[in-house]
Amino acid sequence: MTTTATFQQPDVQGYYGNFGGAYIPEMLYRNVEDLRTKYLDIMHETSFQKEFRDLLKDYVGRPTPLFLAQRLSNLHHTNIYLKREDLCHTGAHKINNAIGQVLLAQRLGKKRIIAETGAGQHGVATATVCALKGIECIVYMGVKDIERQAPNVARMKMLGAKVVPATSGSQTLKDATNEAIRDWINNPIDTHYIIGSVVGPHPYPDMVARFQSVISEEIRWQLKEHTGSELPTHVMACVGGGSNAAGAFYHFLDELSVQLLAVEAAGHGVNSGMSAATTQLGKSGVLHGSKSLVMQTDDGQVVEPHSISAGLDYPGIGPLHAHLFESGRGTFLSATDDDALTAAFELSKLEGIIPALETAHALSALHQIKWTEKDVVVLCLSGRGDKDLATYMKAM
């Protein structure tokens, strides 16, 4: 483990401290190595940057607003800004990464895109960009998630993607990821795999973090317009694999005055056996190609997590976040299913914004901190709640 890593950037082997790397079978080596040697060059090409930036602006609708949530701020006696990723086309931050990776895949000469999805947000974002570019798109989704996220399944199909049920194992996001990786092993030449979060073998965590870093790039100048300073005191985000958090933290990672608060899903409670709070429950291990914190048995079998929000229902966490946790650079909180529901209703009534259930976990954790009037808190509103209406209706 070489010493060139900063919080923002892993070392050349893809390690953030003790976490990361590329623990992949040889069958994936050529594709991952091809990506590793080319991703930075491609991302820095002028033509790539222009196309990426133009699409973010004209297609996604960036920059997304940074909104001073006055009534929410009053409730907490502090200053809370919401970074409105929910206003991105398709309703969540996931599309920032999908656009970046589709453009990259085109430049790598790939003709076929595969993706995994849990809640369906990453699947919808990928299907959307593939439709825009006229590229074949196959999305792997656990059978259980297909049942609980029916509207997003319909959206993907309407966008022309093929949704393949993942029937192995526990039939959720972790297994959809396994199936997508197997597809990639079987189609090593023409296919690019778009991972939906800052997980997977190096260079995925770094690449996805860079595509999502537009979130904090905008926060800096927007906050300056609002307050005169680019730096908040706190940045908060929910963490499934950790991509919206990575994007919101990115340009503050090496600004040590800024506190980074990551909120995981506690499900029925951290110690209930029905939880997805990986930093609380996980141990160092290898899952989906990188070393990170993983929820597992003493024997090293990956356990099935639980969260009311399918997007946080993952037994791992990106290696960047494992490092933020281990090093103490980040503070990890958690919110239960019920906490998240309450917070979703609270924000809807206070600000007229219906958040995604994932985001609601971060909103709930606002109650766990003793704020001062001087604090400037930026919370990443990672997605909107349309996809969760069925769950919200049951809670009414």
Partner: protein, 256 residues
């Protein structure tokens, strides 16, 4: 000489390596299955350590792994089962599995216990050369275990040389870039196997993935020292109460 070296010194053609999952079909099947394989003429046994998320394996082996985990198989149980297996089993036995279970067990403890039980080598497909060279390879060597790397049709010649230099025992040639047990047409693989043969590697070559019957076994053996059968054997013993007879019939079908 290690058991693997001795095997390849005595026999360098038509080597049959059969994969079985520890704790499958029943928790206590591990040793009887290995007996049956040796009895029926397998030259080498690849014993799978079940893992919940076996990326490099296909649906048949994953299902057998989940069944084994349900049956109660763990590494602790496996090493208990293996305590006296060398009293009766003389063929080389290699453990195949994934990094996560070995890391949780404690990598050094894992190697020590494997070596003490009489295991000859390891296949850990998600342990790449960089991590092997910087951290884990030294531990594996310390306990005298062989380590087998995989190569695929997409592996560049220089990298094949590198993996050959790091491997001891043999090289595992993945027959096509596919997960185990897939049904791809075998013939395009022949050019790749021929290319490998011409590279004159220092290790013997065994071909795996997609080898399922006499035809595919013989074809692999035309180009390599032998081949590895996994999913097809797991399927064969899935429903049987007579492991010995089923195994014998299966292997006779390959060897005939």
């Amino acid at each position: 000489m290690s058991r693997l070296q001795t095997l390849f010194a005595q026999k360098n053609k038509g080597i049959l390596n059969v994969y079985c999952t520890a704790g499958y079909p029943q928790l206590d099947s591990t040793i009887p299955v290995m007996h049956a394989l040796q009895q029926s003429g397998a030259d080498l046994i690849e014993l799978g350590m079940p893992y919940s998320d076996p990326l490099a394996d296909g649906p048949v082996i994953q299902a057998s792994s989940l069944q084994a985990i349900d049956n109660g198989m763990t590494l602790v149980v496996l090493f208990q089962q293996l305590q006296h297996f060398r009293d009766t089993i003389t063929v080389p036995v290699i453990l195949m599995g994934y990094m996560n279970t070995a890391l949780q067990y404690g990598f050094e403890r894992f190697c020590a216990d494997a070596a003490a039980a009489g295991i000859d080598g390891l296949i850990l497909p998600d342990l790449p050369p960089y991590e092997f060279e910087t951290e884990f390879g030294a531990i594996i060597k310390k306990y005298g275990l062989d380590f087998i790397f995989l190569v695929t049709p997409e592996t560049a010649p220089e990298r094949i040389q590198q993996l050959d230099a790091l491997s001891t025992g043999f090289i595992y040639a993945v027959s096509s870039s596919s997960i185990t047990g897939s049904d791809k047409d075998f013939s395009p693989v022949e050019a790749y196997l021929q290319r490998l043969q011409e590279m004159q590697l220092r290790n013997p070559i065994l071909v795996g993935f997609g080898i399922k019957d006499k035809y595919t076994f013989d074809m692999a053996c035309n180009y390599a020292n032998g081949a590895i059968i996994g999913s097809a054997y797991i399927k064969a013993i899935a429903q049987t109460d007579t492991i010995e007879a089923t195994t014998k019939a299966f292997i006779d079908g390959i060897r005939s």
